[in-house]
Symmetry: C2
Subunit: 487 residues, 2 copies
Amino acid sequence: MPHSETPPAEVGPLLGQTLAAHRNWTRTPSKARADVLVTIGDALEAAADELVPLARAETNLPEPRLRGELKRTGFQLRLFADLLRGGDHLDARLDHADPHWPMGAPRPDLRRSRRPIGPVLVYAASNFPFAFSVAGGDTASALAAGNAVVVKAHPGHPRLSDATASVVRSALEDTGTEPDLLQVIHGREPGIAALRDPRIKAAGFTGSIPGGRALLDIAASRPDPIPFYGELGSNNPVFVTHRAARERGDEIAAGFIASFTQNAGQFCTKPGTLFVPAGSDLTEKLAATSLPAGEPMLNPAIETAFRKTLAERESHGSVEVLARGEESDNAPAPTLLRTRVEKLLADPATLEQECFGPTALVVEYDHEAQLVAAARSFGGQLTATVQAQESCDVGELAEELAERAGRVLFNQWPTGVSVTYAQQHGGPYPATTAPGTTSVGTAAIERFLRPVAYQNFPQHLLPAELRDDNPEGFPRLENGRPAERDR
Amino acid sequence: MPHSETPPAEVGPLLGQTLAAHRNWTRTPSKARADVLVTIGDALEAAADELVPLARAETNLPEPRLRGELKRTGFQLRLFADLLRGGDHLDARLDHADPHWPMGAPRPDLRRSRRPIGPVLVYAASNFPFAFSVAGGDTASALAAGNAVVVKAHPGHPRLSDATASVVRSALEDTGTEPDLLQVIHGREPGIAALRDPRIKAAGFTGSIPGGRALLDIAASRPDPIPFYGELGSNNPVFVTHRAARERGDEIAAGFIASFTQNAGQFCTKPGTLFVPAGSDLTEKLAATSLPAGEPMLNPAIETAFRKTLAERESHGSVEVLARGEESDNAPAPTLLRTRVEKLLADPATLEQECFGPTALVVEYDHEAQLVAAARSFGGQLTATVQAQESCDVGELAEELAERAGRVLFNQWPTGVSVTYAQQHGGPYPATTAPGTTSVGTAAIERFLRPVAYQNFPQHLLPAELRDDNPEGFPRLENGRPAERDR
């Protein structure tokens, strides 16, 4: 039975509650927000035995993966809590008044830090029912930044979405925070109505290119356009040099197959293209390795889309099937396709498009110079990977890939996005709609903050991090130089 | 004689040259870029006797103002050079591999810094022929970030634009840098063609709401949408409390008049609204002070627009003229209008709109609680100002203003935007199209950078700031904590 949509008449009042909760949360100090995030993370992990079976039933994902993903979800919240306690996210800057400022006019006392941007709308993803859904990365960073969040649930796991929201809202109540700080809505039209509502000040999205683009266009066409942080799609090409194919062929073949077939290839960082030297035995190894059996996909809509796109690729005049795994009723066969680099370059618009599911394209080339040309044919990517010997000259290739991708890898595989301080999960369009930002890692909080400068303000009206006495001991730039820290 | 437009057929080849120059500049280390910026700044100031008369002839702005603005323009370039030498703009982060990372999966070696976003298109402003034009703030920050720049000249000062570009290009040649790093185009259609060109990766704009919105919509509707950093318009309201009006009435009247009439009110930060207590003698002081004589406006188009908008405001049923200065042929009279706060709140869409030129609206109120309600009626602002005694309780008002403005001031005036580390020149729409960013101050460089993470990369392929040995001694975050610095 399909989950019922949020009645259109309820969206407005719900956003009213969101705004009220937002106002109080905005005024809660960073360190108190940190405690709340920890409570939410702990509550989610404690509810694993309730949430994981629901996720299992709604997404077909294997239980160990789901338990790991839930752990990651709790970890994300705690990592943002750590960030809030440190204060780096505020980017606090103090310029003291300077009558001799060399600009040619006296410098006033100016102090700048970052404030919450306003209530945030998060569109949940299908393929990470915990880590990119109701209490996932966008929600964690938006809450950490001091904003209320409305999540537009993914229709693939509506019951899990409600159950997750219920755990989060109880945790909020336990800490004395208004539960309306997090709300969930269901349905396409309510999701669009919320995006058009002037109370929403930013949106985060993880999903397909067509879906993300449609929402981006709505956000951009509002009377007051708002930032739309969409993670849309990526091919994640991998480039194997001659020497790497020769010296690490087995390892590369195994790593590649594991990476593109894992969880039925349903990762935004799945490597969709592998460039291999023609005539090397890597291609033969790939053809000879038995691909794993298919796994059920997230839901029938995604499976249907995958089968359709795969069939189109297979019937592309330039493409042939290199290897295929076992198929069962609701578990499409992992499929490796093959082409030549010249053929890829003749139709990159089709052959470099993401195909969400367990398939990838092996592209044979002759000379490594062709890899640089091939790299240049790609649009914006979340990731791009080089498989090479350290001593080999792949500088030009790496540079071209860094021009196009948010993350470049060397001799590792792009699936498995670590949540860290230095992570970058983003990239030029169509990988994302906001190439200067990330949706994973601590820097993700910047998307939901807005800087404000206070000129000549009295101490008692300044945010704590900008007062002379810096009561929290937060890091600050003073007259352009890092001030002494005491943490 | 109107300046000739760039022929449409020339835009494509010009962008090809831009891209070529961009590629080399991108690979120039930060510190070498700093030296080039200093050379450009020095060359511009050395050319004052050539450039200032041109600016004077094309903009009507007074010579001292123009000389000061040129000095500011050189200073901006040198301040970005300082930033490049310090390395803060790279936001370098190193996460060393950690097999026990509590996320639940081993953490790979991840290193992240910021790269140039790609060739930048800058739309010059009319009212700052130096500081927001060919070699102005957007150009300085985009060049500092490592990008080539194409400037769409403002039609108000085309000859100055060419002359400025010529000085910059000569300075580039003197340093051995390709002069095509900076190019200028003229004309509306060439400006739009460049914005649609896939080689352009970001745009900066300073100008009107209709003009900025039209360009934002083009940037957002590209097959690959790009960041569009537009500074559009602002009313910059000022709120005077009862006690401030009583105790500092003369000072406030004088400061306000100087601020809204300076250079014919042609500042994006001109205070457009002044809330004063009804029945206080501040209103009478304002009515009694003789306003300064009009000054010629930037150009006939701007003067015509001002006269039209002012006439509409004067004929608004809720508005009356409070005071008027002297008028001459091409110098419209500074004009103070008056209304009541209830009337303002009845038609904020009209009465809170920016009117570019020497006019402002005095709004009388009774109770200070009305100020908070009035503050809430404003859309996004570049600035908002409180005039109050320090001991008075204006916390709620200041908070509401910080919710809406990029810069909030206490007992100072918003005109005169200091170029510093802590400056914030931005704000929610329509003040800007990108509320999380600034167009003035060192943080402006962030708009033209894009983060990239390098996973498991060999040392020799990493950008210098991410290598173990950190040859430049740049600041870095190591495992989430600031690393030792040696500068």
